[in-house]
Every structure is written in C-alpha cells, then in structure tokens.
Amino acid sequence: MKTAVVVFPGSNCDRDVQRAVCESLKTSVDMVWHEEERFSIQPDLVVLPGGFSYGDYLRSGAMAARSPIIKAVIEHAERGGLVLGICNGFQVLTETKMLPGALLPNTSLTFICRRCHVRVEQTDNKFTYGFKKGEILQFPIAHHEGLFFLPEDELKKLEDSGRVVFRYADPCTGKAGAEYAPNGALNGIAGICSEKGNILGLMPHPERATISHLNGGTDGIRFWDSIAKAFAERGAF
C-alpha cells in the first residue's frame, strides 16, 4: 500500500506516522511538502498528520486546509483513495469540508495528553474493517481542540448514517459516549468517516500506539493492519 504523508509547516507528527507505517506495514512512505500541487507517485493512502500546522493560529487546521497540496488530496479522495487525518489532520479535514463538523477547544480549555480508550462503532469502512464492532482500543490523545461539534440536525444525520467510527469509552464497562470524552466531544465522538468510508478523521494518535517498547501501547499496530487488510480485500478505489 503506497502511503504519502503530507507535511505542513508546523506538522510535528509527520515523522512519527512515517515510522509507524513503515514499521508496521513494512512499506516505504513518501513525505510530501504542502506546497506541492500533486503527488509525484500516486499513493493509495494519504495521511494528514498531527501537530500544529501554522502554529494552530487563527483556527487549528484552517491555514493548512488552504495549502496547494489539498486540491490533490481532494481529487485523490474523490477517486475513492484513502485519506486519514489524525488529530491536526482531522482538523484539516473538517476545515476543507471533506468531513463534516468542527473541532472546538476542549471544555477544560487546556491541552490534554494522556492515554484514552475508544470503542469501534462501525467496521463498514476502509479503516476499521479488520476490527470487530464494539472492540475497545487504547490510543493516546494530545490536543487542545478536540471537542467534536456539529449542529444538532447534522449531528443526527451523521449518527443515523452510521459514520461515527470511534467513540470515547470506558474500558471496564465497554460503555461509550459523551461522559467518557476527555475533551467534551458531542456524543463522545472521537472519529468519523466520509459517506463512502474512504476518508477517516480521528483525534487520538494510533501512531503513538505502534512501537511496542514505547509507552503508548500497541493497539495502533492492529489499526494499521486493519487498513492493510481492508485494502487487500476491498481495494482502495
């Protein structure tokens, strides 16, 4: 699976995603600077990494969403290609309107870095195909703007169409919802996908749960495997 990671000025998880994907999927990963207008090698998966593109100034993700490369990312997605936005990448996806919603400041108004749990809410997409619905995964979060927001009617539409992929959850009881969201996200939403299931945005960092001797856990390994499995069995396009 050919993977490209877009690097915006201020991105700081770009190299982390590169390493996580390289090590778990044993593939090489292209790093693509935001000023490029197209991908030199057509990727199967495009990752918009976490970090602080443009320092998170104005609104997080807002300025990155206006980068030259974004047009190519949109075209890639329209052809059915995979696009994964992690943390700041998720914020960029909502700013480009490739995914609905917006990410507002955490209710604590502080940055929060800690491990958290999410429940897999659906598996009918190109990313969580390899999981079972209802599984609980542990991923670290690290953000200041992670409160997923949509106006009520649109939120209902999103829920009804089953596009909520991850929800913050309690690992002991398996329950998920707003009360488990560390950031105040509506309905405890941690990740959503596009209608066709080929664009995924999530606040937690699977790449930080990929290297087994580090302190972020190992559920990320399964996350990357799941994408590879979906890709192998269902193709990207």
Partner: protein
Amino acid sequence: MDYKSAGLSDPEYRRIIEILEREPNPLETQLIGVMWSEHCSYKSTKRLLRTFPSKGKYVLQGQGENAGVVDMGEGWGFAFKVESHNHPSAVAPFQGAATGVGGIIRDIIAMGARPSVSMDGLFFGDPDLKKTQNLSKGIVEGIGAYGNAVGVPIVGGKTFYSPCYTDNPLVNAFSAGFVRLDKMASSQTAKKGDLAVLLGSKTGRDGIAGASFASRELDEDSKSSRPQIQIGDPFEEKLLIECCMDLLAQNLIASMQDMGAAGILSSSSEIAHKSGCGIDITVEKIPLREKGMAPWEIFLSESQERMLLIVEQDKLDPVFAMAAHYGLDCAVVGTMTDSERYRVYEHGELIADLPTSILGDATEVVWPSAEPKDIRERITMNPSSLISAEPERDLLSMISCPNGRSKHEIWEQYDSMVQLHTIDGPGSPVAAVEVPDTARVCVLTMEAEPNKCRTDPYIGASETMALSLRELWITGAEVLGMTNCLNFASPEAPEKFYELEQCVKGLADTCRSLDCPVVSGNVSLYNETSGGQIYPTPLVVTAGLIEDRNKRLASGKAATGDTFYLAGDLCGSLGASRYQVMKNGTPAGKTVAPDHSKEKDFRERALKTAAAGAASSGRAVAGGGLAVALANEAIASEKGISIEINSSVPPEEILFSEGGARAVYAVPEGKEQVFESIWEGFPCTKIGAVSGEDFEWKEMFSIELSKLKKAFLEGCF
C-alpha cells in the same frame, strides 16, 4: 551614555578605558555593559564553576559551548543543557515560561542536534495563595503552549512548592537532542571571510536589556523599567529547527550560535571571540520588525526565534534557498575578519570598534563569603515535635500534600509522546527515551532539594546529586554527565554567597568522587524581592545510558508474587525531610551526608541487579522516605503491598526519614537468591511482598489501594 545606567561599576569603567586606551562611545558603553552583566558574563560564579569536574570518558563537549555533549554510542551524541527563565516568568508567566522553553531548544540546535526531549523544573510559592495559582497556571500553560507546538516532548520535570518562591517563582527549562557525531556544530569554527547570516524572526524591540534585567533583584521599579516583553512563536521555531537540520545535513553551516540574552551582540561577539576571529557587522542589513530602532536597541534586542549562522561565501545560495523553502527570513549581516575586533558599521560609518576579547572577558568579581549567623538554628530540630502518633494519617498527608501528590495536572498539559521515542515519561522517577535507531536507552533525572540546601548547603547539594545518580544506577544506567542550574539570591550578601559556594562544592565533590562530569549549566542570581530570598536551589539534570533496553529496570512494575526488599540502611534522617517540613512548617535539621564509598558500593550492586534481571521493579528512597517510596510503588504498579519491619526505631524514622543510598526492589519469585547474593555484604532487608488490595504495614496501618490512589491523584483523603 552614562556607564552606570549601562550597569557598569567605577572600576569596570576604568578598566574599559585602560583596555581601549580611550573612552568608549555611548554605543560601546551599552554593548560592554550588557556583556559584562552577571547574566552574560558569569563574573561572580566563573571561579566556582571551574571547580566542577569536566572530564569523563563519555564527554564529547564540556562546558563552554551552547550545550554539553556526551557519547551515547553507535555514532550518537547527546547534547543537553538546562537554563533558567526566572525573572521573565515572574513578570509575565505565560510568555516568560514559553520563551524559556524556546530559548533552551535553540541552544540544542546550535550544537547541530535535533531537539528531542525537554523537561521543566518549577518552583512555586505557597500553593494556597491566589498569586501562586495564577503564576503557576500561566507558567504551565506557557510551557505547554510552546513545547506542544514546537513538537519536543516534555518527558519529565520537577515541581516544588515552598513559600520562599511566592514572589520569586523559578522556571528552569531543560532540553536535549541527539546528534550524529559527524554533524555536530560548534560556535568556535568561524573563519575569516565567512559570512554572518541571521536566520529566523525579524528583530523588534523585545526584551531589550533583558540580560541586565535578569542580573538584579526584582523590585517595584522593575515594573516600569521592564523591557518590552518577548513573545514566543513556536511555529517559527519549528521551522527554524527543520531548516537548521536540513542545512546541517547538507554541510552548509560553518559555525552557529543561538540568540539568547543580549541577542545579536552576544551571539556574534561570542562566535568571533571563541573562533579567534573578528567580525564586521552592518546595522542596516539586519531585518527589523519596527521602524526607527537605534543601533543599541538592535544589538541588545532579545527577539526570539533567531539563529546566527556562519556560512562560507560559496554556500550562501543554497542557504538562502533553504530559508525560502521554510518561509524564514534570512539576511547576511556581517563578515568574519582576522582583526580580532568587533566592529559595527552604520551606512558606512564605523560606530563601534572593540577588541572581541573585551566582550568575552569580563573581570571576575569576588564576593565576600560568611557562614549564615543562624546556621545552628537551621540544623537544629526538635525530635519531640516529629513523633508520628497517627502514621496512617501522616502517610496520607505526605502523598497528598502539594509536594507529594501526583503532578499529572501539570504534565498532562504537556505533549510527552511526540517524536515517538518516549519509553517512560512524566510520572516516572526517571525519564527514558530511545536513542534513535538503536536498542539503547537514554535515561534522565531532574532533582532539587531546596529544603536540604537551606539547612546545610553542602550536604543538601551533595544529596541532590547523589540521589539523581542513584536513580540512574537503579535503572541499570551508566552515568554520562550532568547539567545544572544554580538558582540563588544575591551573591552580594556574604551569607548568600556562602550558600552558593557550599552548594557548588557539594555538587563538585560528589560529581568528582562518583564519576559524573559536569558538561553544561547555567546560573541565575538575584532571586529575591523585598519580600524575601529563595532557598539555595541548585537543580541538576543527569543523563545515563542503558545499552540494551531489555535490561532497563523500571519502577511501578511490581507484580503478584514479588517480594520487597530494602537495599540500604533502614533509616536516613528526618532532617529537612518532607515529613519534618510538613510537621514544623520550615526546614530544620541536616540530612544524611552521602558516604561516597558506600554510594559506589551501592552503584555496583544496583547495576548488577538490573543487568541480572534480578528485580521486576526498583525505586530510590527519596522525598517522603521509605513509606512514600513504597506507596508510590503500590500506586504505580496497581498492586497491594504488605510490609513488616521489626525494629525498635520510632515509626516516623522508619517510615519517613530520607537520605542515604537506599532503594526498594520488587523481586520476582525464583530471583530471591540472585538478588540476595548481589546485595550480600550491604545492608539489605526483606521487608514484605506484593499482596492483597491494600497498602498494609503490619502493626502500623492498612490503607485501601483506592484510597491511597485517590489521595495521591486528587490531593485529598
């Protein structure tokens, strides 16, 4: 320019005239004034710093560079340094602390290293005061805002509360980075004909004369005379990091230096002086953010996110191309010469002409030193006031008090995992990170013991150092070196200078006999206000190396079936311990003076324990004593512990005394013999086992783990 308002004394001014053989002009007076300030010149402490042992088999770069560098093996160097940002943080907590983080990161870049980890040492006043709450909120947010955005994980730190910091909070920022040995950069390698290039932010009126601001006490006046506050721009800094890393990878930089205190002046004069060159700078080539800045303002401005690069003529184009790629400003502002003179031109006119040596070589100051008159009082404690009638209550108080409770409310605001190399982050007594592309682990501790330094500066500093070494040894690490930040009150008071001298001696003696070279450091003096003076606060960060990550002994990993041992004496001293201060309000009594031969013995055995895999978990006995070490171990391992110690020693001594080479180990079934044989001939006692759901101490107390955890995490019980 009146030389006095430039911070120069009469003898200093006379000396300048002697060296120049003329009167300096106003600009020159300003320049010399700042370079000779305490902050830039270390004139009061140079003499003391020279007593630190600086050599060691892992030292690649000792004191004298932007940061020290030690050898991590397999071609990797590790550049590290700690620096204070106390005064700015007292005045503008958020921005002061943020720019402290940014500043130390640039020191690491200047060594050619990619900034890889940060830590922060925070010293706050009375936690019940609104003032302290506001200051600490701003400071923590500032550190987080900068560190998180710039993408350097904060993997640990130190937070300490004492009323002596109410008006003088301390912010010590540590940063470190890995560098390939063949890519190491230096500030001493400029040659005649090379160009001086400014990279990064434009120069504004920020923090002008900040260096002299930091060289005196904070008074009411500082409010009006305070410099234009510096604003940190972590976004710009992140671009600066990436740009410098790319430039270094392509060998485009001959020499480099970050811009900290006294901005362009100090960076350019240092590079010229250390390289044995001269430099000609043209004022109007410096990109400015504001109109109408005078040359002295430009030279002293402390605008953030700037680096000074020395570039060979034929490499200029690719350097500019790289800067443009990252959208950074870049300008040639001067040329290196062989004149050994620091010359400034403005529109063709020579406006300052000084020997480069004058800026680098301020006259040392020798302050008188005198033992504090109340030293007897400080070391005398009243044992009857320390009796623990309710050990359970005392223990719960100890782990829930501001100094004893978990600091997660602080460190969860920091990204501790970015860069994907954190093995153990904040919350663990020793931070651990991967050495890039190897199985090696770099371990770090940050320690300070202000209460112990207050009652006996020599012993207190010795214990600070010894404790940080023990923590590393327990993990199985070879010690590579240390960096320190000396936070003290005014050296002009003989009693305060005495404390400083004694602390340095304590650190130096301990480092020398326990084989820990001092590779970098920083001094912050004048931490006092009319309201009071801080306790002597030497903070040390020590780096160690474990070659095989599978051989690292972590803490908080006690498992069911494990037996607990105490390696070391049953008791230390209650003198200036957390318990004593909790009971009496102010520190009194001496802690145990580290016994160097015993420490070495401890070292060998601790290293063997880790290497042999003879324990599943290990932790130094530190603040709060044995009971707190075990409570922390129970909480972190999420396991009940049952302890039984038969001794006639009073409970408070056993539970809460501190000091001495001591550790608790959890030893798995089947490893007892190996463990015991390693520790044979050293005091070592079997004290209990992992068991049940409680932290139980036979004939003393039994506390539910959940209650213990709540006290530790929420600070109440």
